[in-house]
């Protein structure tokens, strides 16, 4: 069997790592080092090259140049399994688990030491119980992975790495899917592991978390290391400048919504059952006023996706009604709702927001192609399309070569700008924004937030659904928490605080 942790002390050094994707340099001569018992935070924006660097360590990507040393010995990491044999365990952002199999089977897939050709699952289960108890992971090795919560699945990933002999544990954006309380629990596990001599590499773009958990911090910007410092020598403000290249101020002065503002959208006891006949939305009530951003906080998977789709008309609720400006739109198709003034910024912009293989110009007219001046008697007016598209590209600062290039060739941030430009140019009254800054860097996120606030200034109502609490707190006038398909509470921004919202996100209402 693989000993979960040996007393052997491990340090890791990566020197001059360079990775290129075509002409794009993802890692440019990057150096990092971690000692045993230490937590190194790898801080950087989306696209700074953090995940690429870790994929090199995990044996998924081979670097163009650079050296890796473990315990002073130079190594070539040939494959994922070789990386594990060297004592490296990676917990990917998207879990590498087989949902239909039990925890024990997941842990020992591909391991001949568990027994070959017939693995001794009973023995593996017993070993897992021991490791789980030792590190207080609280996992039942018999459980089928698909029945476990996201937080538990993450612990299964950690357990898997430990069982497979990891002494250096890489956690890629581990907190992005956790509630504040679960994050707290994870930090406890990390501290315990480093106390046992394990090294942890913690990848994040969240400054407060990095300051809380790490011993040393390496900051990456556009593929290069901009700083390598000990936590005690720095602070959040300095780190943010190192990460983004300039200081970003988040303080805005926003006029409060007048209390007499009229109701724009009313959602009345919406219930929706998924294809397994399980209730995903349960008699959900919600209102959005004119000139208001109403933020919906919650852990991923509590009905957010379905709520957005029901409002947009993509899913039909099993009961309940939706009113926009007092008109019942429950039975209207998405097209008719668009005419009624609805705009939808979907969470999955590549599938629901854009047609990736057609031009920017065609993407702009998806919702208006049948109307003048875009077309007349069913014939498209390309002059008009070209000119409006060019104007929108200018107004929304979409970085592209021409209106004829396909949406797929744009970066994530520019794709989102394209969606915003199309939706907002129709002069909507009510906007559903689902995870509008997902996967965007700080600059693009700022842009999206400013555009949403601009719509608010214009007196439009916005429903902002996000699992990023920072985003919710920054933009919302009122904050509601969704839990298991119900709104547990609605708080005004004055009384809402992270702790209270965090507890509500776990379903605790008695606070």
């Amino acid at each position: 069997m693989h000993p979960p942790l040996s007393s052997q002390k491990v340090n890791l050094q990566m020197q001059g790592i360079t990775v290129r994707y075509g002409s794009f340099i993802a890692n440019d001569g990057v150096n990092i080092s971690v000692d045993h018992g230490q937590t190194l935070a790898l801080l950087g924006e989306n696209g700074a090259g953090k995940t690429t660097l870790m994929k090199v360590l995990a044996g998924i990507i081979k670097p163009e140049s650079g050296r890796i040393q473990i315990n002073g010995k130079e190594v070539q990491i040939l494959s994922p399994i070789h990386s594990q044999q060297l004592g490296i365990g990676m917990v990917h952002q998207h879990f590498m688990l087989i949902p239909t199999l039990s925890v024990a089977k997941n842990v020992c897939i591909g391991l001949k030491s568990a027994g070959y050709p017939f693995p001794n699952i009973l023995k593996v289960e017993n070993e897992l119980i021991k490791i789980s108890e030792k590190y207080n992971l609280q996992i039942d090795p018999k459980a089928i992975v698909s029945t476990l919560s996201v937080g538990t699945q993450q612990r299964v990933e950690i357990l898997k790495a430990l069982y497979r002999g990891a002494k250096i544990l890489i956690l890629d954006e581990p907190t992005s899917i956790l509630t504040p309380q679960e994050t707290h629990g994870l930090f406890g596990i990390i501290k315990f592991l480093t106390g046992q001599g394990c090294s942890v590499i913690f990848i994040s773009h969240k400054l407060n978390e990095v300051m809380e958990i790490s011993d040393r911090i390496t900051v990456l910007r556009q593929g290069k290391v901009t700083a390598e410092i000990s936590k005690d020598e720095t602070n959040e403000k300095d780190l943010s400048i190192l990460m983004v290249g300039h200081e970003f101020t988040k303080k805005r002065t926003i006029k409060p919504v007048p209390p007499e503002a009229s109701e724009l959208v009313k959602i009345d006891r919406i219930t929706y059952f998924d294809e397994r006949k399980l209730p995903v939305l349960r008699e959900l009530d919600l209102t959005v006023k004119k000139g208001e951003i109403h933020g919906i906080a919650g852990v991923d998977g509590n009905g957010q996706v379905e709520l957005a789709k029901v409002l947009a008309g993509i899913l039909r609720p099993d009961s309940g009604r939706i009113f926009i400006n007092g008109n019942d739109v429950t039975k209207l198709s998405p097209g008719k709702r668009i005419t009624a003034g609805l705009a939808h910024i979907p969470g999955d912009r590549q599938r629901l927001g854009l047609v990736m293989d057609v031009s920017l110009g065609e993407n702009f007219i998806l919702e208006t192609s049948g109307k003048e001046p875009v077309s007349k008697h069913g014939i498209l007016n390309f002059n008009n399309i070209r000119n409006t598209s060019k104007q929108l590209i200018k107004d929304y600062d979409i970085r592209c070569i021409s209106v004829d290039q396909t949406a797929a060739t744009l970066s994530g941030g520019n794709q989102q700008k394209l969606v915003l430009a199309r939706e907002f140019s129709r002069m909507p009254k009510f906007i559903i924004a689902m995870q509008p800054s997902r996967g965007l860097d700080v600059g693009a996120t700022e842009f999206v937030h400013e555009k949403l606030l601009e719509q608010r200034e214009n007196g439009n109502g916005i429903l902002l659904i996000s699992t990023e609490l920072d985003e919710i707190f920054e933009l919302s006038d009122r904050i509601s928490v969704i839990y298991e398909g119900k709104i547990l509470a609605t708080l005004s921004r004055e009384v809402a605080n992270r702790e209270r919202i965090g507890l509500l996100m776990t379903g605790k209402t008695d606070v």
Binding site: T51, A58, I98, L101, F118
Partner: protein
């Protein structure tokens, strides 16, 4: 009363129906058991029909000239391996569209086998025949009412099929290799990070599928009839795909689902003899209609492997930066 019921269960007509149910089920069962391997590993095999008809012809021709049905079946196994490799090369290595390739292969194989059959035997009025595999009555067990005729009054190839069902269950649920197959079909990227060679696993899976489909086809010509007829598989390869869904990609589920289909087929064949005032074409439709009706009920609860039909690109997946 109870005595009457008992005599009905042991009447020769009813026993004939029961043995026929299993006999008609075996070819589909073999193909669907093969399908468990490739579909659980994440590749679809729409080409089962083609694999089967090739097995039918190969099994027949080689049996005819060698004088031994078992040599014929061995030859069918060999061609199954070959076809599995070809399909693997197209679907796993070249990553062509799996549905399009499977259907083209089926059309090609049906045409090719008819053509080769005529080349080999010419167009004759009395079609060539071989002596099919004999029925082996298992002592004692074959005397059990109902169960006996279904399970224990069959040919050796049927008994081999039962063993294959058991072996498949052991592989899928108890062996390391079965875990690799399931991992490759649910989350190939994860499988690869845990040291599973997804490409190789999928190749083995499609080859096994090819072999089992081919034996299923050979069963039709060498065990149930003793002759070869153009297009004699008549869509059984497609039905096997449905049986996979109804059987929930589980060896025992597939066993039951195939037997159910076989029973419906046996029932319609017998009903034809009674000269009811129904055009026989409607009776022929019966098992297929049953199949569709059952699928209505199973479509919701039956979940296909998550990565089924998705080609795997090693490290070539557009990785996030």
């Amino acid at each position: 009363m109870i005595g009457d019921l008992f005599s009905f269960l042991t009447s020769s007509i009813f026993e004939g129906f029961l043995t026929a149910s299993m006999r008609l089920a075996i070819p589909i069962m073999l193909a669907a058991i093969g399908g468990i391997y490739n579909e659980r590993a994440g590749i679809s095999n729409i080409g089962m029909e083609g694999f089967m008809i090739v097995g039918s012809l190969t099994g027949f021709v080689v049996s005819y000239y060698s004088g031994s049905v078992w040599i014929g079946i061995l030859a069918a196994i060999f061609l199954g391996i070959l076809l599995g490799l070809i399909m693997g090369y197209f679907e796993i290595t070249l990553k062509v569209n799996q549905v399009v390739f499977g259907i083209s292969l089926n059309l090609f194989c049906v045409g090719l086998t008819s053509f080769l059959f005529r080349i080999i035997f010419g167009i004759t009025s009395n079609s060539p025949r071989i002596t099919p595999l004999p029925t082996i009555m298992i002592p004692i067990l074959s005397k059990i009412p109902v169960i006996g005729p279904i399970l224990f009054q069959q040919t050796a190839l049927a008994y081999i099929t039962y063993i294959l069902v058991l072996i498949t269950a052991i592989i899928m649920y108890r062996s390391a290799w079965g875990m690799n197959i399931i991992a490759a079909g649910e989350n190939p990227e994860a499988a690869e990070t845990m040291g599973v060679d997804v490409i190789r696993t999928r190749y083995y899976a499609i080859i096994i599928s090819g072999v089992l489909c081919s034996i299923g086809g050979a069963f039709l010509s060498t065990a149930s009839t003793g002759l070869f007829v153009q297009n004699m598989t008549a869509g059984r390869g497609y039905i096997a795909l449905a049986i996979l869904v109804i059987g929930r990609w589980d060896p025992f589920g597939v066993f039951i689902a195939a037997l159910l289909f076989g029973a419906a087929d046996a029932l319609q064949l017998r009903t034809q003899l009674f000269n009811f005032d129904i055009p026989y074409q409607f009776l022929v439709m019966l098992p297929y209609i049953l199949c569709m009706v059952v699928m209505i009920f199973f479509s919701k609860s039956s979940r296909a492997p998550a990565a089924l039909g998705e080609p795997y690109d090693r490290g070539g997946k557009k990785s996030e930066i």
